[in-house]
Symmetry: C2
Subunit: 124 residues, 2 copies
DNA sequence: ACAAACCATCGACGGATGTCGAAACACGCG
DNA sequence: CGCGTGTTTCGACATCCGTCGATGGTTTGT
C-alpha cells in the first residue's frame, strides 16, 4: 500500500532519535509542536488502541500478528481501524508475511514521547 | 468547589508514585488499566491543551495564572474549558489567590506517564 | 478453480468533543 | 454598594470519532 499519509514524527533514517519537541517543562510549546505531539498522545488516548499497542509492544519478538491481539472486546473491523490509526501516527509498522499481517512498535517514537514527559531536574 | 469528579489517577498522599499501570512493553494492558491510562493520554491529545499544559509546566515557579497563558489562539471560555479538562484528568491543580486563579502541574502524574513509556531494555 | 482464513475498506449511525457568545460568578476597589 | 476585571458556566452548534455489519482483497490449501 505504501501509505502516503504517514506522519513524519521522526527522522526515519537517522541513528539518533529526532524528537519532535522539547520536554513539556522546558518552555511553552509552539502551535506546530503542540500539533505534532498531540497527534501522538491522541493515538494512545483510546483504551482499545492502548490495549492493542501494549499487546504488540509486549509480545514476544516485539511483533504480533493481528490474530494474536484481536481479543479486546470489539469487532474485527474496529481492530483494523485502530491499528491503522496507530500506524498513521507512526507508532506501529506493519508487514504482511503470507496469510498474516504482523505489527511492531516503532521504538524511537516511544522514546521521543518519553523525553517529552521527562521531568525537568529543577531547571533554573 | 471540591470537584467530586476528579479522577484518582494517583494515590494523593503517598510519597512514592503509585503508577496506574505497568510499562506499555511489559505485558498487555487489562481493560481497566487501558481505561485509566487512556484518560491521561487523551487529556494531552489536544494541541490547545498541550500548549496550556506546557505553558504551566514551564512557567517560573511551576505555576501560572490563567491570564498568563491565555494566548493560545482560542477564546477565553475555551481556555477555561481545557484547563478544567486537564484538572479533571489529574494533570493540573488550581488555586484561587485573590483575583487570579493559578494552575500548577501534578508532577507525580507526569512521572507516572513517563514510566508507562519507558522503553524496555531489550527484554529477552 | 474453488473454498476457507485473514485482514482491510466502505457506508452508516450515535455519541463525544472543541468552539463560540452570552451570561453568571468571584474578587478587589473606590 | 456598585463597578470593573478575571474566570467559570451555560447553551448551542458543527465536526470528529468509535463502532458496527457488509463487502472486497489477498493468500493458502484442497
Amino acid at each position: 500500500m505504501s501509505n502516503p499519509k504517514v506522519l513524519p514524527l521522526i527522522a526515519p533514517e537517522s541513528g539518533a532519535v529526532a524528537p519532535c519537541c522539547p520536554p513539556l517543562t522546558e518552555r511553552p510549546f509552539t502551535a506546530e509542536e503542540a500539533e505534532t505531539a498531540a497527534r501522538m498522545f491522541r493515538a494512545l488516548g483510546d483504551p482499545v488502541r492502548l490495549r492493542l499497542f501494549s499487546a504488540v509492544a509486549s509480545h514476544e519478538g516485539g511483533e504480533a500478528c493481528v490474530c494474536d491481539i484481536s481479543d479486546v472486546g470489539v469487532s474485527q473491523p474496529t481492530v483494523s481501524h485502530h491499528l491503522k490509526k496507530l500506524k498513521d501516527a507512526g507508532l506501529l509498522t506493519s508487514e504482511r508475511r503470507g496469510t498474516w499481517v504482523y505489527y511492531r512498535v516503532e521504538p524511537s517514537v516511544l522514546a521521543s514521547m518519553g523525553k517529552l514527559l521527562a521531568v525537568a531536574p529543577a531547571a533554573a
